[in-house]
């Protein structure tokens, strides 16, 4: 069972397909859950405290906005932990403010730098695309050694 980083990290489709084929999807929900289940100082809504931008320094320089560094405190450990990655390239839903947009660029850059199996895809636009999309993911995850 491999730990597979998914991008967009909130994707329902990728999260489901990875789990369906016997692997562990690394999604943002897991990182958010860790924070909201840890006691500390009240910092709603996501319990992102001033500590997070400091942790983010591991992946982004000090002159990078704190919004990017704070987000990287969530995604950075998952990128380090992952053994494979699936990236959807035309994910309009992953748009956002400059913090989100730059974090997304940095996430994709860091994943591509890592020497792990990667699968790049577009969202399917019709039924035949859907078959190719699912088949590509199934082949990719099968090569990682999950259940058939």
């Amino acid at each position: 069972m491999a730990k597979v980083f998914i991008y967009p990290a909130t994707s329902l489709i990728l999260s489901d397909l990875v789990a369906r084929h016997g692997h562990t999807p690394l999604s943002s929900a897991v990182a958010v859950r860790e924070r909201i289940q840890t006691a500390g100082l009240e910092s709603p809504p996501l319990q992102i405290t001033p500590e997070e931008p400091k942790k983010g320094l591991k992946w982004a320089a000090v002159e990078v906005p704190s919004g990017v560094r704070g987000r990287m405190a969530l995604y950075g450990p998952m990128i380090e932990e992952c053994e494979a990655a699936i990236i959807i390239n035309d994910a309009d839903l992953a748009f956002g403010c400059m913090g989100c947009a730059r974090t997304n660029e940095l996430i994709k850059f860091l994943v591509r730098q890592k020497n792990i199996p990667k699968l790049d895809l577009y969202y399917p636009k019709n039924e035949e695309d859907g078959v190719k999309f699912v088949a590509a993911i199934k082949r990719f995850l099968g090569e990682l050694g999950g259940k058939k």
Binding site: P8, T10, S11, L12, I13, S15, D16, L17, A19, P25, S27, S28, A29, V30, A31, V32, R33, R35, I36, Q37, T38, A39, G40, L41, E42, S43, P44, P45, L46, Q47, N89, D90, D92, L93, A94, D120, L121, Y122, Y123, P124, K125, N126, E127, D129, G130, V131, K132, F133, V134, A135, A136, K138, R139, G142
Partner: protein
Amino acid sequence: MTDYTPVHVGSVTKYVVVESFEITPADLAIRGYEISDGAMIKETCFGLVVNGKEEAVNRIVTELRKMDPDHIFVKDRGFPPGDSRRCRANLGSARPGYHGMEYEMTVIPYVSHGLEELKKRDEATVPPPENPLDKKVIDISTLKKLIDAQES
């Protein structure tokens, strides 16, 4: 600064999203309640939110999936059901994250079709999808020409 005391510590929350012609969120909820065994289940417009111990949630999700395996999708959620920081009822508008799910719901019928088709076909015979990395980007010399044309 006030102290933060988390609730539902050690629990896991999962979304069960249904996009089916045969199963409705209400059907899922009835089946979910039957086998809930202490887990918290909330019915929503798109399916269920299930919260509880990891083993219990995984067991419920596995059972629910059997109702329509190609049309039921599951993902993790960070917040427990009805959390005031995320719940639409408290915020007065769509829950953060809903729009992403709403977009993917437009694509899910194609994915469901893919899952159904691959039961009849071998995935090795299906051609690979378009590779985004093969998309040709503008080369440096063309970009330079464009810049020069704009500047002159």
